[in-house]
């Protein structure tokens, strides 16, 4: 169920522009950094919806709670897309070293359909030395990116890969995997086929290798007019004066603003 979202046209346009390869070099890594409750997740939700509505292939990984390892990420992307379209990734996950009590994957999901799957246990690798395991991480990242680029090519588009809540994997193996493998491999050879968006309270500091392909996106504070439009779109009972009063008090707390406006929609409906 997708609830109405306050417009983030300015930020959304920057994300949309990244899909056009006109820039030199094209921005293929976008960093969205802000404090909690400012709308990073909602912006990613908006962007994902835009991509799906315009037949742009997209995958979304939320790193919340820090419990996803790189294998879980491969698995999550594979589940979000049609597994048959990710042959290299599938082959990697079918390695005899992969241990997953619940690696049952439905093959009938729509390429651009909603991602929803049930609770499962974390996947792990067994029987490999650490060195081999690191090599596997590298191969896994390459397999994934090659599959995504091929998929993007078949759609004559760029693939959009979204990571949310990045701060929750700070200093973990997953962070290292994303920075050292995914971001490094995404540039410079794959810049024309993939766009990666990293959002969080903390995002990685660009390194010399991928900084030229990176853009930092700052969320602008929402204006009163944004909230008035939102209130109209959700048919809130609040008057303009009341919304102004709320805004004076909560202009820097979008979550609270939305909750108050929504509350008066629900009461009106009762």
């Amino acid at each position: 169920m997708l609830r109405p979202i306050v417009d983030r046209d300015q930020e959304l346009n920057i994300l949309k522009a990244s899909l056009e390869s006109r820039g030199e070099p094209p921005a293929s890594i976008l960093l969205v950094e802000d404090v909690s409750g400012q709308g990073k997740t909602k912006l990613l939700e908006l962007y994902k919806t835009y991509c799906r509505n315009t037949q742009i292939p997209v995958a979304h990984v939320d790193l919340k709670n820090g419990s996803l390892n790189p294998l879980d990420i491969l698995h999550a992307v594979r589940k979000e897309l049609q597994p048959l379209l990710l042959p290299r990734c599938t082959a990697a996950l079918q390695s005899p070293y992969i241990v997953s009590p619940s690696l049952e994957i439905s093959d009938n999901k729509s390429l651009f359909g909603p991602a929803s799957y049930t609770m499962e246990t974390s996947i792990s690798i067994s029987g490999l030395s650490s060195e081999e395991r690191k090599q596997w991480w590298s191969n896994g990242a390459r397999a994934l990116l090659d599959d995504l680029c091929e998929l993007a090519g078949s759609q004559q588009s760029r693939f959009v890969f979204l990571f949310d809540t990045f701060q929750d994997v700070a200093k973990t193996e997953t962070e290292i995997w994303i920075i050292d493998h995914i971001l490094r491999m995404a540039t410079p050879t794959r810049v024309n086929c993939i766009v990666i968006v990293l959002a969080g309270k903390q995002v990685p500091e660009p390194t010399a290798e991928w900084a030229p392909y990176c853009k930092v996106l700052t969320l602008q504070p929402l204006k009163l007019v944004d909230w008035l439009e939102y209130a109209t779109s959700v048919k809130s009972n609040l008057t303009r004066d009341q919304i102004e009063q709320c805004y004076e008090r909560h202009w820097d707390k979008p979550l609270t603003m939305a909750q108050i406006i929504d509350t008066f929609v629900k009461r009106g409906a009762v």
Partner: protein, 260 residues
């Protein structure tokens, strides 16, 4: 009526007062479920049914309704969660105004998550165990050691950090006695020490990649404890390992985990 609610919202002095008013404006069953949904880090219809048994027959419908609330967001692979800012306020309200009920529901959460075949769920169970019952040092130590035992493989080290961060969430909010604070710190220190031993074993076996990775986790734990001496000792070990790894450039830097 709506004007009256609005006036009350304007008059609210704290975020907690405001939240109470907003939640109370929801239909009764949805309001109860919203309060309960804030207790775990994630929920789905099954979790909600367990946490509030008298509404279990309505759990699926209420779960769907919760998803339309501004402060509820998807939790990938598991269901949904209450946004961290809202959750913090609601948990403060639980603790300050309905503590016995909070303990009771946390007990149900502990039982439910502990029964799942999933290390992430066991970490969640350990989190709920902290407030589920009046402080029982022996029981809690046993529970935490049992959970920690499953986290001693490389892919699960990050879950050990999650376990500690979850405990610190309760500690920062003042929901645990001093004994629990000491227990968590002691557990963290013991785990870091075990990691150092494990790293030494890997280094002797010439598995330097593993040694570096494990030491990196140990260093994080000492940093979290604020133990600069222990952190420095780990850094020395890291540098020695980097030297063995024939990466003196990284050793000089002494900081970067990005050697792979």
């Amino acid at each position: 009526m709506a004007d009256s609610l609005f006036e009350c919202l304007l008059a609210a002095q704290t975020s907690e007062e405001e939240m109470q008013l907003l939640l109370a404006a929801l239909p009764t069953a949805l309001c109860r479920m919203a309060w309960v949904a804030a207790i775990p880090h994630w929920f789905n219809a099954d979790v909600l049914a367990v946490l509030l048994p008298d509404l279990s027959s309505q759990a699926a419908g209420l779960y769907a309704q919760l998803q339309s609330l501004a402060f509820v967001e998807p939790y990938q692979g598991r269901g949904h969660n209450v946004h961290e800012l809202t959750r913090e306020i609601i948990l403060t309200l639980w603790w300050n105004t309905r503590r016995d009920e909070y303990r009771q529901i946390s007990g149900r959460a502990e039982t439910y998550f502990a029964a799942q075949d999933d290390d992430g769920a066991h970490v969640e169970a350990a989190y709920h165990s902290i407030v589920a019952s009046p402080f029982d040092l022996t029981g809690l130590t046993g529970r935490w050691n049992e959970t920690a035992a499953s986290l001693r493989i490389p892919e699960q080290f990050s879950l050990a950090h999650t376990l500690i961060q979850n405990a610190r969430e309760h500690i920062a909010a003042g929901r645990v006695p001093d004994g629990m604070v000491r227990l968590v710190s002691g557990w963290e220190r013991t785990f870091a020490g075990e990691l150092e031993t494990l790293a030494e074993e890997r280094r002797k076996a010439q598995d330097l990649t593993a040694a570096v990775e494990i030491l990196g986790h140990a260093r994080l734990l000492y940093a979290d404890l604020g133990d600069q001496q222990a952190e420095a000792n780990v850094l020395v070990k890291l540098n020695t390992t980097y030297q063995m790894y024939k990466r003196p450039d990284v050793a000089r830097d002494g900081q970067s985990p990005s050697i792979f």
